[in-house]
């Protein structure tokens, strides 16, 4: 994973709550077997509307999405994070993220920065009044900066550390493989195994 410590890019105000992952990427795009190339799929339904924010300059070149609360609800599809990243987003700001989306973001180097809704309202106004204004998301200081607005954001320490170091989760876990093996040795014998396969006949 690429390290990310700070990012500055054009902010995109998305004045909407409950942006579910079906909106971020509709199911029809999930049939692909690759991990990249999802930029066309991002908000595919909404992008059919010419007034949608990503169809407006300069927002179409934005890289920091500023959304309403409960962003990324619903389906666990990591494709939502891939689509945001493939489009060019480096960070999403919201007052509340769905747990799975937040987890997926952390694994893929997309910063999910939790900012108070009152600050988001200010950032929305700034971005709408001055399109093209940049937003800086700084993991070091855990702040977002937009025009004269500076707001703290929440992100858990572990995710922040992994993002800033660009660390791969599986590699980290495999450092503790002995612990896994030791745990396996003491699992109760009655726990089910999928193999050999049993069926009702």
């Amino acid at each position: 994973m690429e390290k990310i410590i700070t990012h500055t890019g054009i902010g995109v105000p998305l004045r909407q709550s409950n942006v579910d992952t079906d909106q971020i990427i509709p199911a029809v795009y999930l049939k692909r077997i690759t991990r990249t190339g999802f930029e066309d799929a991002l908000f595919a339904g909404w992008r059919r509307d010419e007034y949608f924010i990503l169809n407006q300059e300069p927002f179409n070149t934005g890289s920091v999405l500023v959304a309403g609360p409960d962003f990324g609800t619903g389906s666990s599809r990591e494709h939502a994070v891939w689509a945001l990243k493939d489009y060019g987003f480096k960070a999403v700001i919201s007052a509340r993220f769905a747990d799975i989306f937040r987890g997926n973001s952390g694994k893929q180097g997309l910063v999910a920065a939790e900012v108070a809704q009152s600050d988001i309202e200010l950032i929305w106004k700034e971005l709408e009044n001055n399109p093209g204004t940049t937003v800086t998301v700084d993991l070091e200081s855990r702040t977002v900066q937009c025009g004269s607005i500076s707001a703290p954001f929440q992100i858990d320490d572990y995710t922040r550390w992994r993002l800033m170091e660009g660390l791969d989760d599986i590699g980290l876990t495999l450092q503790h493989e002995e612990d896994i093996t030791a745990y396996e040795a003491k699992r109760p014998g009655h726990k089910p195994k999928t193999l050999p396969a049993q069926t009702a006949g």
């Binding site: 909407q16 079906d22 199911a27 990591e78 876990t173 726990k191």
Partner: protein, 482 residues
């Protein structure tokens, strides 16, 4: 458990029994625990990139014997003996088949008797058992919590992580008790309980929590009904929902293909009986609901929290105090093609979908069949019945339910996720309105421009008869078919 230990909730018990390695540090800066995973379920959509990741890194699948795959999201529900017409769907299915072969994973393919929706297949094979940790690259993995398992959906990076390590790095969840006391009125089901819970706490209300459903109304439910409730925990923002196992649970598991046998059974049941929240255990939050007051529920908007009783009217933006809620209502009404103030029961539907990992089990099919038997379908309504698994389909046919549906004029399909998310050809047309027993009423979920209303199987069936949103009690004065 030692006498020194403070009382624990069910979720905490299952968690602590799976800690491979405790995270270092304290408080906010505490690192995640490494948690062992007992069962990993796979399907074609969220696994290809994970298998590819393993391959690229030269890693092995650690425990093929704790892994099982099925084909469900993309699979057609018609003509399953022919090659899948959609090329990208076919490629994805073939990729799963190739991957399972390469890595030695048990796979139940289309046409196999055990194929079906991953969350129907696991319990039905007896692989889902109390006290287990169960994960899948699918948010409705919460379904398995009905057995007192800690079960939750994960993203593809985590799928790869579990493949390689059979574990996950996780921060402990908070716990929320959902207490439902009382007795459900006839015609009110577990689907109505969970829709009411979501309407009460909102789509974000459960974020960061494991929900534990408790109380007399929950205890009296069958396993199928409990699965419906836990299934939709994610719609309240919670990753997992749980119900403490009891005799109903044990009875369901006993004799299933992968249920423990002989001495193992006794040892397992002894362990399972410990799986309940201790007296005095502290939940981080509690919610109370009275089952006596519940009515059949239906959603009117574009998220599962936008639901009301069937006897109510569609809300208007003015009904909401918060400006964001007002806007959300306005937007939802616009998308759904509804006007505030319209009685729900006056709204006509075009399609009725009975299926999905929420409501596609035997009890769901039986409930709907009981309502429609001897009745005539509204000629303008199309009804699609999609059993949750090939096994459910066979069982239903053995009971003659397929004939009841066919006589009624419904389409009797093969098993899969189908119209719940429209990845296969089963989709709504633009503007089409659907009474659906599935779990998500998001914009475009069942097809571009489609309008979804979430309901129980009983409401779905009654609605198919009258053509407008109805509950079985609305049918009492209707003439029976000759």
């Amino acid at each position: 458990m030692s006498a020194m230990q403070s009382p624990q909730t069910l979720a905490e018990k299952v968690w602590s029994a799976h800690v491979v390695r405790q995270g270092e540090g304290n408080g906010e800066s505490r690192q995640p625990d490494l948690i062992y995973i007992d069962l990993h379920l796979l399907h074609e959509v969220t696994s290809p990139q994970a298998f590819e990741g393993l391959r690229l890194a030269g890693r092995q699948l650690r425990r093929p014997d704790l892994t099982i795959a099925t084909e469900d999201h993309n699979t057609p529900t018609l003509d399953i003996d022919k090659p899948i017409a959609d090329l990208t769907s076919r490629t994805q299915i073939n990729t799963l088949r190739d991957n399972c072969k390469e890595f030695g994973v048990r796979l139940h393919s289309l046409g196999d008797k055990e194929q079906g929706i991953v969350h129907v297949v696991g319990p039905q094979l007896g692989l889902t058992q109390p006290g287990m940790t169960v994960v899948c690259g699918d948010s409705h993995t919460s379904t398995h919590g009905a057995f007192g398992a800690l079960a939750f959906g994960i993203g593809t990076s985590e799928v790869e992580h579990v493949m390689a390590t059979q574990s996950l790095s996780l921060k402990p969840f908070k716990t929320m008790a959902i207490n439902v006391e009382g007795t459900l009125k006839p015609g009110v089901t577990s689907k109505d309980i969970i829709l009411a819970v979501i309407a009460k706490i909102g789509t974000g209300g459960g974020q960061g929590y494991v929900l534990e459903y408790r109380g007399s109304a929950i205890r009296s439910l069958s396993m199928d009904a409990r699965m419906t409730i836990c299934n939709m925990s994610i719609e309240a923002g919670a990753r997992a929902g749980m119900i403490a196992p009891d005799e109903t649970t044990f009875e369901y598991i006993k004799g299933r293909p992968h249920a423990p046998k002989g001495k193992d059974w006794d040892a397992a049941v002894a362990d399972w009986k410990e799986l309940h929240s201790d007296e005095g255990a502290q939940f981080d939050a509690e919610v109370f609901l009275n089952a006596d007051d519940l009515e059949p529920f239906v959603t009117w908007g574009t998220n599962p929290g936008q639901g009301i009783s069937l006897s109510q009217r569609v809300p208007s933006p003015e009904d909401f105090e918060d400006e964001n809620d007002r806007k959300a209502c306005e937007r939802a009404l616009n998308y759904m093609g509804l006007t505030g103030g319209t009685p729900m029961k006056d709204i006509r539907v075009d399609t009725v979908f009975l299926g999905s990992c929420t409501n596609s089990r035997m009890e769901d099919l039986r409930a709907a069949a009981t309502v429609i038997k001897g009745k005539t379908k509204d000629p303008n309504v199309r009804m699609i019945v999609v059993p949750g698994s090939a096994r459910v389909r066979l069982e239903a046919e053995a009971e003659g339910l397929d004939q009841v549906f066919k006589d009624f004029g419904a389409e009797w399909r093969f098993a899969g996720c189908s119209m719940c998310l429209g990845m296969n050809p089963d989709q709504l047309d633009e503007g089409e309105r659907c009474a659906s027993t599935s779990n998500r009423n998001f914009e475009g979920r069942q097809g571009k421009g489609g309008r979804t209303h979430l309901v129980s199987p009983l409401v779905a069936a009654a609605t198919a008869i009258r053509g407008t949103f109805s509950s079985p009690s609305d049918l009492i004065n209707e003439p029976a078919a000759v």
